[in-house]
Symmetry: C2
Subunit: 336 residues, 2 copies
């Protein structure tokens, strides 16, 4: 059999029709008939080989939704016909200490869907049964793809940092990641301040859940927010006025980074005196992804998407390059 | 009445006999007849005005042990004759959100014993009743002073980071702070690796509780320890190979700084991928100090001290300046 896809042959290249033979379905694998696939900024990073780990031809795409077409012979908890999703990881070892502790997302040998294998800009994709998560009732299938990477990436810090509905939280960067953080945190019950360099996003940020909006180029504004937040979630991939943001944390507050800025630096004294910390996290585990989906269904949380047909993938990638999406792009499979 | 003390009149100056009148004992204060007082590195920093907040004359000393001589009229939970200790803080507001949550050590208006007032290189000292902590049975009074600043400073991270007896922990710097960390962590049940730039400390570090000893100038050694520790406790005040130490943390591991290095910087990707964090903390709250004392009494934990008479305070300060104490200096009050 053959999988139809769009692939780049070179770094930064156009995506062109591409077919490949995936071989026999492994006993512990699931094959998904893709209905749609979100586009994540890391698809662009991989396309450009920014992280020096891309193999070409590259089929990007790791925010995948579809129906199960086939299951391997040892798969018993999933069935053909079920609607499921798949995010950044396609497999983890299932037996290391992290996997055995439920932290499959921290498995040191976990395999990325688009790292050395082909992803979701295609009509089908395969993955280990552990990473294929059923969509619960109440999730909008058409827009669900981005929950599986962008969504779980901003949901994980809420869990990891034990954020309570009584907390005040800041979100830096109202884009593909940040806009979902606003929706989760609003449903969580927190008081939310959005920080953005785009003052024209204020009305949308408030609609998405922010109670307050701060222009993050306004350093005086940071000074007035001293001692305010239990967590600042950094959803941009640039270096910030780290000491300024740390000063806006309450005692024991956490500066939590999910955007891949090159490095972070901070004065030590404020960390010591305020018992503050700087941390980061990748996307969440499969179990946490299922919890996030259930929470999203209950609260009607979905990403704000713009939908392109898969055949227009190059137009969609161009829109991502321009930094213009509001807020997440999704490709609808129109391959036959 | 008059309190007899040793004070410096200028930055870095010698400590000379000094008397002052503390005025009337406030209703919520306790007066301690000092039996001994530890010397902390921050006494030297304050003497030198390193933090630009010293007022002269300065009476240093904030690791104080003694018997209560008098209590203010509203003090009911402490009585004259009780053996007590006092650390860095002499007072906090008792009513802000942090104080009301038990985090008096994070009160933004907490008063330092030697900041704008006189400390424990003296025959008496006063403090708010909330910060005067009774010594439980089983604590060696002669060496207890350093528990009230150095001790609680390295005990607090164990609590804050929820360290379990099953964890592997690294301690960087085996000096006044680090040697107490080894004793606490050994009693806690952890597996402990000591990092020191002084290879001649290996035997002592093992005796103090370390299972392993690493020369921290050996960068190859750091590389072999990748993915090892749940926490690295940094008890030195210099900048380190932060990325190197972060690589030795397990997923979800914490680099925790209690030594006042100027700044910390780190690559963001390892923090994200391993869900790791960098944090700091000051000394603990009064309630945690009482818990630390009870734990120390049960496990026979005391600092390793060298005792000087208070009248030889300048010799003791000189020993601290030279970096030679093993491990904590204590002044025994020989004023009449």
């Amino acid at each position: 059999m053959t999988i139809k896809a769009y692939a780049a042959q070179t770094a930064g290249g156009q995506l062109e029709p591409f077919e490949y033979d995936p071989g026999e379905l492994a006993a512990d694998q699931v094959e998904i008939d893709i209905s749609s696939c979100g586009i994540c900024h890391s698809d662009l990073s991989m396309l450009n080989n920014d992280w020096e780990m891309t193999e070409y031809p590259l089929v990007p795409g790791h925010e995948i939704v579809g129906k199960i077409g086939a299951v391997g012979e040892r798969v018993t908890h999933l069935k053909p016909g079920q609607t499921v999703g798949l995010g950044w990881f396609s497999k983890s070892c299932m037996t290391c200490s992290e996997c055995m502790s439920g932290n499959h997302n921290l498995c040191s040998t976990a395999e990325g869907v688009i790292v050395g294998r082909h992803g979701g800009f295609a009509n089908k994709v395969r993955a280990h049964e552990g990473w294929v998560i059923p969509l619960p009732e109440g999730i909008n299938v058409a827009t669900a793809g981005p929950l599986f990477c962008g969504g779980i990436t901003v949901f994980n810090p809420i869990i990891q940092n034990n954020i309570q509905p009584t907390d005040h939280v800041g979100v830096v960067g109202i884009g593909g990641l940040g806009h979902m953080a606003l929706r989760f945190l609003r449903a969580w019950g927190c008081e939310i301040t959005a920080f953005s360099t785009s003052p024209d996003k204020e009305a949308e940020a408030r609609e998405l859940g922010a109670h307050h909006f701060v222009n993050s180029r306004d350093s005086d504004a940071l000074a007035t927010l001293a001692n305010s937040f239990g967590m600042i979630l950094v959803a941009v991939n640039v270096e910030l006025d780290w000491d300024g943001y740390i000063s806006t944390l309450r005692p024991q507050g956490k500066l939590h980074i999910v955007g891949a800025a090159p490095s972070v630096s901070a004065a030590v004294f404020p960390l010591i005196l305020g018992q503050k910390s700087i941390g980061g996290s990748p996307l969440g585990s499969p179990a946490m992804t299922a919890t996030m989906l259930e929470f999203s269904a209950r609260h009607g949380i979905e990403p704000v998407t713009e939908i392109f047909p898969l055949s227009k993938v190059n137009d969609a990638m161009e829109k991502l390059r321009s930094g213009k999406p509001r807020y997440r792009l999704v490709l609808e499979n129109d391959l036959d």
